[in-house]
């Protein structure tokens, strides 16, 4: 097997010829697992999101071709579901839960503070590409409201101050 070089130019070029990209292996495996049947689309998009961090256009075309799903349908599914994003995320991701318990517990104020002090709203990334903010519907951690996820780690009983503090440590 060919050795992958990791220069950025190489990466963007390889996205045009998808089978060359090592990140695509997991995607291809997922599709093969479902024998390239069209109903594997959502599972495949999960795989794309996981290995690329977002749904890259070239990869979407590759997926559409392999699963024989119309391009517009792939895009439709990708934008219907909130878990998928078409933009590359920042280096760090902060998810704030806006479920009922968290809302009652004050997660609205936390979002307000992030907007004010970090300057990003839901779905946005800081200009330096360091931090992305996402809003979750409900993390299911209502007992710990308000809750959030910082780079994959769930944290509970948040306050505007400790959230700003956590984000601050990333920058």
């Amino acid at each position: 097997m060919k050795e992958e070089s990791a220069t950025p130019e190489r990466k963007s070029a390889s996205a045009k010829q998808p089978p060359e990209d090592h990140r695509l292996r997991m995607v291809n495996r997922t599709m093969q697992l479902y024998r390239n049947q069209s109903h594997a689309l959502i599972e495949t998009l999960h795989a794309v999101q996981e290995s690329f961090g977002y749904l890259e256009e070239g990869v979407l075309k590759h997926v559409a071709g392999t699963l024989r799903v119309p391009l517009s349908r792939v895009y439709a599914v990708a934008t219907f579901y909130h878990s998928f994003t078409l933009k590359p995320p920042g280096e760090h991701t902060c998810v704030i839960c806006m479920g009922t318990a968290c809302y009652i517990g004050g997660s609205g104020a936390i979002l307000g503070d992030i907007k004010e002090k970090v300057g990003i709203g839901s779905g946005e990334t800081t200009p330096d590409g360091k931090v992305s903010l996402l809003v979750a519907r409900c993390l299911g951690s209502c007992g710990l409201a308000p809750a959030g996820v910082f780079d994959g780690e769930v944290a509970g009983k948040l306050s505007p101050d400790n959230v700003i503090d956590k984000i601050g440590r990333w920058r």
Binding site: H46, F80, Y81, T100, A145, V154
Partner: protein
């Protein structure tokens, strides 16, 4: 490999003997709630401490599913003595191990007489917090898969259907449709291909029962599904679980592979001619996928847009085949129903709502967490005794049940028994079991706005009334909370709620106005105060005064 009952009993025996071999057993809650407070490190530290002292054969440390009292996490339970330690930190570990067999560590002790643990009746969550969810043997030791064995080897399909029908079990996902009837409908269809789907797309903001069950006792759900497969004639199952619940996904996948390895799933289960497989499908963040037809569309790889019913999935479901869809809690009720009989189950609860219900208690309440109580328990008992009342001496205002499809129940109904029909009578629904308590500092208009924002952005956009109507309702609620609305706006609000409720295509739209309608009904004065006096009675909408 195929098992018979002796094998099951053997596994159970070995497991029980192992457990009995320990003088002490420390159960550390490793469900998502406690994990996020650091229970994982506490568990590791405990195991290290026990090992360091050479007590490996004397004391067992294991991770278990949800103990229920999420607010006090990380929570650990001492199985001998039945004590709970709350808010445990790594620094406490030495003291805990030291205290084993002696008097407990007082500063960590959760009060013994607490109603939180006393008043509950655990059926669905009987194993939660007691067994290691990552080991099938522990489930088997608690009579796990015995129900499936009974059903497959000693009961006809009709008998299984009969037991489920007799139990009076109703769907725990929201509408409370009789489970036996649903199963029977699917069983009656003649198609050779049928499906069983477990709806674990728990999307209600404020509900985490299903997550807890999957994280704490995944095999119970698998067993329930397999029984359903047998009774309805399906051989393929799907668990549709939210991608936002990574731990639940992991434990379900682990449980599935364990069950497959033991031959509890697969071909010729327990040497019968029944075969059943289960696959996991991940949701991708769409609340509307909790609706049956949308969920099916999503499993088929499409956008989760509901289609008009009839035909119902029971006749015309996944890939056009008859499909049974129940939620996690419903399936989790099945194994004990098969083991103890439908009559036993029907003896619990009220006349029309049988069994127990798991609730996720959250919001302005002392004991946030997961509880299971018999149907018909008065709301007051849940809020004030199990829930411990309202913190900071504040006044109770309302309980929100049923999530965005439910309603807000005011103080005057506190003595109402909690069951499907009573909740319906006051304009709310059981829903999946989220229970959010609100105190005097919560503005009910703001709460209605919160839910409408949810419905608006979760609307799939297929039918016009829901797509545009929820947005229009939301706009008016914004206007009200900002202090800019008139009495005419209030009339338009009610008119729109009526329209969306009666003309939307699916349940999401039809129930989207409920939070507005119940708050209008019970807290109209708060709406009027925003409109006439430009004032928020709860002091939550701060801009009300400035805007005119």
């Amino acid at each position: 490999m195929t098992l018979n009952i002796e094998d099951l009993h053997q596994i159970a025996k070995i497991e029980q003997d192992t457990q009995q071999g320990f003088q002490h057993r420390i159960n550390v809650c490793v469900a998502a709630g406690c994990l996020s407070c650091g229970s994982g490190v506490v568990k590791d530290a405990l195991a290290r401490e026990v090992g360091k002292r050479g007590l490996d054969n004397w004391c067992q440390v294991k991770g278990v599913g949800c103990l229920g009292l999420c607010t006090a996490g990380p929570l650990i339970a001492l199985e001998v003595g039945g004590r709970f330690y709350q808010g445990v930190k790594v620094a406490d570990v030495a003291d805990i191990v030291e205290a084993l067999g002696a008097s407990p560590v007082d500063r960590l002790l959760y009060p013994d007489d607490s109603a939180f643990f006393q008043r509950q009746l655990r059926i669905v969550t009987e194993n939660c917090g007691r067994i290691d969810p990552e080991r099938i043997e522990e489930y088997i030791a608690e009579s796990g898969y015995e129900g499936l064995y009974l059903a497959l080897t000693q009961m006809t399909r009709q008998e299984v259907l009969g037991q489920v029908t007799e139990s009076g079990l109703r769907g725990r996902g929201g509408a409370g449709f009789p489970t036996g009837l649903k199963w029977t409908t699917v069983a009656k269809t003649v198609d050779s291909t049928k499906f069983v789907i477990c709806n674990a797309d728990e999307g209600d903001p404020g509900a985490f029962m299903d997550r807890s069950v999957l994280e704490s006792d995944p095999h119970r759900v698998i067993e329930g599904m397999a029984v359903a497969g047998y009774a309805t004639g399906a051989s393929q199952g799907f668990i549709y679980v939210r991608a936002e619940y990574p731990l639940a996904v992991k434990r379900v996948r682990m449980a599935l592979s364990q069950a497959e390895r033991m031959g509890i799933l697969g071909n010729n289960i327990f040497n019968t001619n029944f075969s059943f497989n289960i696959k996991v499908r991940l949701g991708a963040g769409a609340f509307v996928c909790g609706e049956e037809t949308a969920l099916i569309a999503s499993i088929e790889g499409r956008m989760g847009r509901p289609r008009p019913r009839p035909p119902f999935p029971a006749e015309y479901g996944l890939w056009e085949h008859p499909t049974l869809i129940n939620n996690v809690e419903t399936f989790a009720n099945i194994p004990p129903i098969i083991r103890h009989g439908g009559k036993w189950f029907a003896g619990i609860g009220t006349e029309k709502s049988k069994g127990t219900k798991v609730f996720a208690l959250a919001g302005k309440i002392v004991n946030t967490g997961l509880i299971e109580v018999p149907m018909g328990m008065p709301l007051r008992e849940i809020v004030y005794e199990i829930g411990g009342g309202i913190p900071e001496g504040k006044r109770f205002k309302a309980v929100q049940t049923g999530g965005p499809s439910g309603g807000c129940i005011p103080q005057q109904f506190l003595d109402m028994p909690v069951d499907y029909d009573s909740l319906m009578q006051v304009g709310s629904i059981m829903g999946s079991g989220g229970m959010i308590v609100m105190d005097e500092s919560s503005c009910m208009v703001d709460v209605a706005k919160f839910f409408m924002e949810f419905c608006m952005s979760e609307s799939c956009g297929k039918c016009a009334p829901c797509r545009v109507g929820t947005r229009q309702i939301y706009d008016i609620l914004c206007k009200i909370t900002a202090g800019g609305a008139t009495t005419e706006d209030l009339a338009t609000l009610e008119d729109l709620c009526d329209l969306v409720k009666h003309t939307s295509l699916c349940g999401l739209g039809q129930s989207a106005p409920n939070p507005v309608l119940t708050t209008l009904n019970y807290f109209r004065d708060e709406y009027l105060a925003h409109i006439h006096d430009k004032k928020c009675l709860a002091g939550a909408c701060k801009t009300a005064k400035e805007v005119s």
